[in-house]
Symmetry: C2
Subunit: 440 residues, 2 copies
């Protein structure tokens, strides 16, 4: 048996112990982790320097982007950020054992539905080392074991962070084996087969990477492969509002999944809206790709590109926007449901009926009215740490925080009740009364 | 494109319309469906007679069990039961659009989390025709499209029920294309590939069948393949209670997933408990398979079989019980987590601490204290119609009713807010205040 397989089998067992820890033990472990980061700053910075110098050499050859090198860098401020992140997790309510519902089935027979950890998670992410404390602390607080793998660029940083944090947690009575650090791509390929031991995979990364994971495992995958977001500007839109929201959705941070990629414009408002919109785009260096009808509304001297069919299914993650014309709300909705990635889509209109219709009919995790698509984010939603954004149709959807790491179990407490008394002639009747009472 | 693939693509589109229907339209459709069943009784009974006579011939050859033939039979009473089932679904609250949470991100910027249908379901079940109205009505009320397949034994019954019900629904304005009836095993194999169009599969049937589905699709599967349930009788158990609960858990209906298969007995109570327990089993024609230690506590004149290693992983679904001895709670928990199927497991003890420890540590959907495992059931839990029992670790677990067919979307309503105002110098601050306000 390979090392990673044997480690994960042990972690699965240890996760059952982790699931039973009380809040105090877990918070003490988190405090120890925060302290350990502070105490081991030097060690962390040294390890990170090794990663960074290696990455810079690769970047010089043009094989790694400068922004990636930048995200890889850890400094004092970033370590303080990691420590604050752990402190935020200490403040989060312990979800384990929380009562979701209580129902009295009969006298002395009460059914509780209580939250419990999912079990053993696999988290795979790209280069940023600050994800190590974030994921470790969230998993610990929620009682989940985790096997994770960071980008190979952060090899030394991830290793030292992982060791410092798990040793600290162990000193407070947390089973260290519940946490596994994977270090090679081969490890990932091995764990994809481990559906008996891993309950949920959370991959973060490129479209190709997430698709690869989704296509090569039987383990449920939480996340999204693409973010093709739309804004539909209706004929009853406030034009100034439409301009501001669309520009922000495109340029505030174009590299991310919740940036808008395609702008749909109602044909009735195109002549009034598009000339001003494209001017703003041009002023901000956004490349514009338009359909034939939209082009007619754009001044001849504005340089635009004719959109191709594949533009409607493209996630640019860049300063590029595609613009299509539609004849009304229904066409806009059909376009979004066809070409979108069910991530985040917005309507700009003052008409309440159209707002409701858009919300009802657009099949996306986040459906916005008169607001920037860039708000689709765990921090902005007030959920604290985010484990990812999901476009799944089951379990969790949209920005996912710690609640996405939880499931529930039913606890039935009786005093000897048997089913035979509730069937046939003279059967006892179920009461089925909802109670406010909590489990324990 | 094959018929079923083209039907399901149409159904996926129609499911988006179904998702937007108001409660009144859906309830009117359900009322029409109930009426149509009553009106078409003759037609249904005739179709069913064809199925039954065919099945009886096969049963005579010994290739079909009598109990299956019995479950296949539809009569006036069963049709009344179907009608009552639909009426129960009319009474259920419409979950679509229900507000789960509301949070004010800033003045005039409010985020609602609202329930919506999952989308397009695939439901595959064995012979009972009464599942047709049950699944159709639950899917309709919850706004989900569904492709389903019944047992081939119920071919004519399923077809006529499906036609009667969907025609009635269509007469009330429901898009008929949202419902697809599959009739061959080849259809199933085709839909297993349709992860772009089907959001969730719910298979009901044998261990092998559910495993086959799980192993051959990328679509999430809700359900359970096996039900290996345990009872642990602790040394602090009330013996009379332990006897009654264990007997009920085994014999009340041994063919089903929530019947107990393995009894774990604390060695300290074995001499007092086992002689009486095995007598009850013998009196009720239950075959007993025991480990060496348990055998010592059983009177010599009682006929028992020596358990083999594979008995601890066996789902008998029959009048057979295996009995193992453990030295305490910890060993019992480890045994259950190792050999169980994470379905339903019970402890019999009066000791509160041990009860809590068992609940915390046993990794099963249903964890019971001093009550029969046979209570693990949607009807007994008061959830109305059950779509299945899940041993999944995400989305839904335990008996699943209509709530398992729902997911949510986030609706953000603003008045032109842009993200750039909330970052950098002089950034506006998020309020993140929970509100009680509902969406619309």
């Amino acid at each position: 048996m390979s090392q990673v397989i044997s480690d994960i089998k042990k972690a699965k067992s240890a996760s059952l112990v982790l699931a039973t820890l009380d809040t105090e033990t877990k918070n003490n472990a988190l405090k120890a982790m925060a302290k350990a980061l502070d105490k081991n700053k030097k060690k962390i910075l040294e390890a990170n320097a090794k990663d960074v110098s290696k990455a810079e050499k690769i970047a010089e050859k043009g094989e790694l982007s400068d922004s990636l090198v930048k995200r890889l860098k850890v400094n004092d401020e970033k370590i303080s950020g990691m420590i604050d992140g752990i402190k935020d997790v200490i403040k989060l309510e312990d979800p384990v054992g929380e009562t979701i519902s209580t129902i009295k089935l009969d006298e002395g027979l009460v059914l509780y539905q209580i939250k419990c950890p999912i079990g053993m998670l696999g988290v795979i992410f790209e280069s940023r080392p600050d994800v190590v404390p974030q994921i470790l602390s969230l998993c610990l607080k929620s009682g989940n074991g985790v096997a994770f793998k960071g980008g190979s660029e952060a090899f030394y940083s991830n290793r030292v962070l992982f060791d410092v944090l798990t040793n600290a947690a162990a000193s407070a009575g947390v089973p260290k084996e519940a946490f596994v650090l994977m270090e090679t791509r081969a490890d990932i390929n091995q764990i994809l087969e481990m559906h008996e031991h891993i309950d949920l995979l959370i991959p973060r990364g490129s479209y190709e990477f997430v698709k690869y994971i989704q296509n090569n495992t039987k383990i449920p995958v939480l996340g999204h492969s693409s973010g093709i977001c739309h804004i539909y500007v209706d004929d009853e839109a406030d034009i100034d509002l439409a301009l501001a929201v669309t520009l922000d959705s495109k340029i505030q941070y174009p590299a991310v999944c919740n940036a808008v990629e395609t702008l749909l414009v109602n044909s009735k408002i195109a002549d009034r809206f598009l000339p001003r919109m494209v001017k703003l785009f041009i002023d901000n260096n956004v490349e514009i790709r338009v359909d034939k009808r939209a082009k007619k509304s754009i001044p001849k001297d504005v340089s635009v590109i004719d959109a191709k069919e594949e533009d409607w299914d493209a996630e640019y993650n860049d300063m590029i926007i595609s613009i299509a014309t539609v004849d009304g709300l229904e066409e806009a909705i059909a376009f979004i449901n066809k070409h979108g990635s069910h991530h985040t889509d917005a309507i700009i209109t003052m008409n309440k009926d159209k707002q409701s219709e858009f919300v009802r009919s657009v099949d996306s995790a986040d459906v916005f009215i008169n607001a920037s698509t860039r708000f689709a984010d765990g921090f902005r939603y007030g959920r604290g740490a985010e484990v990812g954004i999901s476009t799944n149709k089951i379990h969790s959807r949209g920005p996912v925080g710690m609640e996405g790491l939880m499931i529930y179990k039913y606890v039935l407490i009786g005093n000897g009740q048997v089913v035979k008394d509730y069937v046939g002639k003279d059967a006892k009747k179920y009461i089925h009364k909802r109670l406010n009472q909590k489990y324990q």
